[in-house]
């Protein structure tokens, strides 16, 4: 049979319909990728912290410490308790042992008081990674600031550069340690140790590249802020109801 132009279009059209149907089917079936098939390019991690929900129990600090073998007296995340007088002058900030045991005693106050959990902000444009002389600290393709312990010199430039005080020198390894956003957990489909252990869901791990992540709705409907926005670090830890007194 001779094939003319019309036949060709007809056949091509059918083929296109079939191919598009196939693609949709594959998308439906392949909606849940296996954890093994973790693709860095498909994720952009961050966190949302809701001050209105934090009860200062410090379970996040304890969980982080146990999950990551954080040495005694050092913290990858910690909780600060603010007491703010009118006019914002000299707010009282306490964080006994990073609140690893919470704030156990009753602490009456007439001032405005609230808790602020802190951790590495996993800045997209982070000052700490820019000062590393050996390329040992970096922003990963999925937006997590990590330290390559085998190449870190322990020079502490990054400790000075971090505007949020989130880095420390691990006295055992003599290399820099910091929050890894539980990279070993989030790349396996789990949440971070701190988010897993937050009883009030005050802190929630979010993936900005996942269109189905509730973070998009949350950011649209809440008044959020990052810490020290004037530093232009493009921090990815968003705070809901953050008071102006918090530094």
């Amino acid at each position: 049979m001779e094939m003319n132009r019309r036949d060709l279009f007809r056949f091509g059209g059918k083929l296109l319909v079939l191919a598009s149907a196939g693609a949709t089917l594959e998308q439906i079936i392949g909606a849940e990728p296996a954890p093994e098939a973790y693709k860095q390019a498909d994720h952009w991690w961050g966190m949302i912290i809701d001050i209105e929900k934090c009860i200062g129990c410090g379970n996040c600090v304890k969980a982080c410490s146990k999950e990551n073998n954080v040495p005694d007296g050092f913290f990858r995340t910690w909780v600060e308790r603010y007491e703010v007088p009118e006019g914002y002058t000299n707010p009282k900030v306490t964080s006994p042992k990073g609140a690893i045991d919470g704030f156990p005693l009753p602490q009456p106050t007439d001032l405005k008081a609230f808790f602020v959990p802190k951790l590495c902000n996993h800045c997209a444009d982070s000052p700490c990674t820019q000062v590393c002389p050996v390329g040992a600290t970096f922003v990963s393709p999925d937006g997590v600031v990590l330290v390559d312990k085998e190449y870190c010199l322990g020079c502490r430039y990054c400790v000075q550069a971090c505007p949020y005080g989130c880095r420390y020198l691990n006295p055992e390894t003599e290399t820099i340690d910091k929050c890894t956003l539980c990279y070993h957990r989030i790349t396996k489909g789990l949440t971070t140790a701190c988010c897993e252990n937050c009883p009030t869901q005050a802190r929630v791990l979010v993936d900005f590249k996942n269109p189905k992540d509730p973070v998009h709705e949350f950011l649209r409907t809440h008044k959020v802020s990052v810490l020290k926005p004037q530093m232009a670090t493009e921090a990815k830890v968003y705070y809901n109801n953050l008071d102006g007194a918090v530094r």
Binding site: E52, I55, A113, F115, V139, L146, T180, L190, E196
Partner: protein, 152 residues
């Protein structure tokens, strides 16, 4: 006729030195720059796998609930429904991998409950809080409240 490069020797010797220098530089560079450096940026790409391979400590509440049915059901019906198991029971990934390897200890309620529920003006107003010393009169919390579903 005059040759085109009459004093070519002057050029060849530095050129040879330059080539040797370049080769040495490339060899040293190849030896000292770690594998995978520069694949994604100014760092060793292989470290991402190292960071991923670390073992986990907290198994996650879905894993707990997959065996401990009665506790999970009790918890799901109460105000502690969203309170993850390991907040109170501690990290249990090893127990989840091999239940006989690590027996979870029962938590000490006196400090455990107060950690969240001790009254503090910094806590959100809607969060249930008590001054434990006045509230219980020395009784243990779990004499009245069942931790998995604390409502009386």
């Amino acid at each position: 006729m005059r040759p085109t490069f009459r004093d070519a020797g002057h050029l060849i010797r530095p050129a040879v030195l330059l080539v040797i220098g370049l080769v040495v530089f490339m060899m040293v560079r190849g030896a000292v720059v770690p594998k995978g450096f520069g694949k994604y940026g100014h760092y060793r790409a292989g470290y991402l796998e190292v960071a991923r391979s670390k073992p986990i400590q907290y198994a996650g509440q879905e894993v707990c609930a997959s065996c401990h049915d009665s506790e999970a059901t009790a918890r799901a019906g109460g105000r502690h429904a969203k309170v993850s198991c390991e907040i109170c029971h501690g990290p249990q990934a090893r127990h989840a991998d091999d239940p006989s390897a690590l027996k979870p200890k029962l938590p000490d309620v006196a400090t455990l409950c107060a950690r969240c529920h001790e009254k503090d003006p910094a806590k959100p107003k809607a969060f249930p809080q008590v001054v434990t010393a006045e509230h219980s009169g020395g009784m243990a919390c779990n004499d009245c409240h069942k931790p998995h579903n604390p409502h009386l």
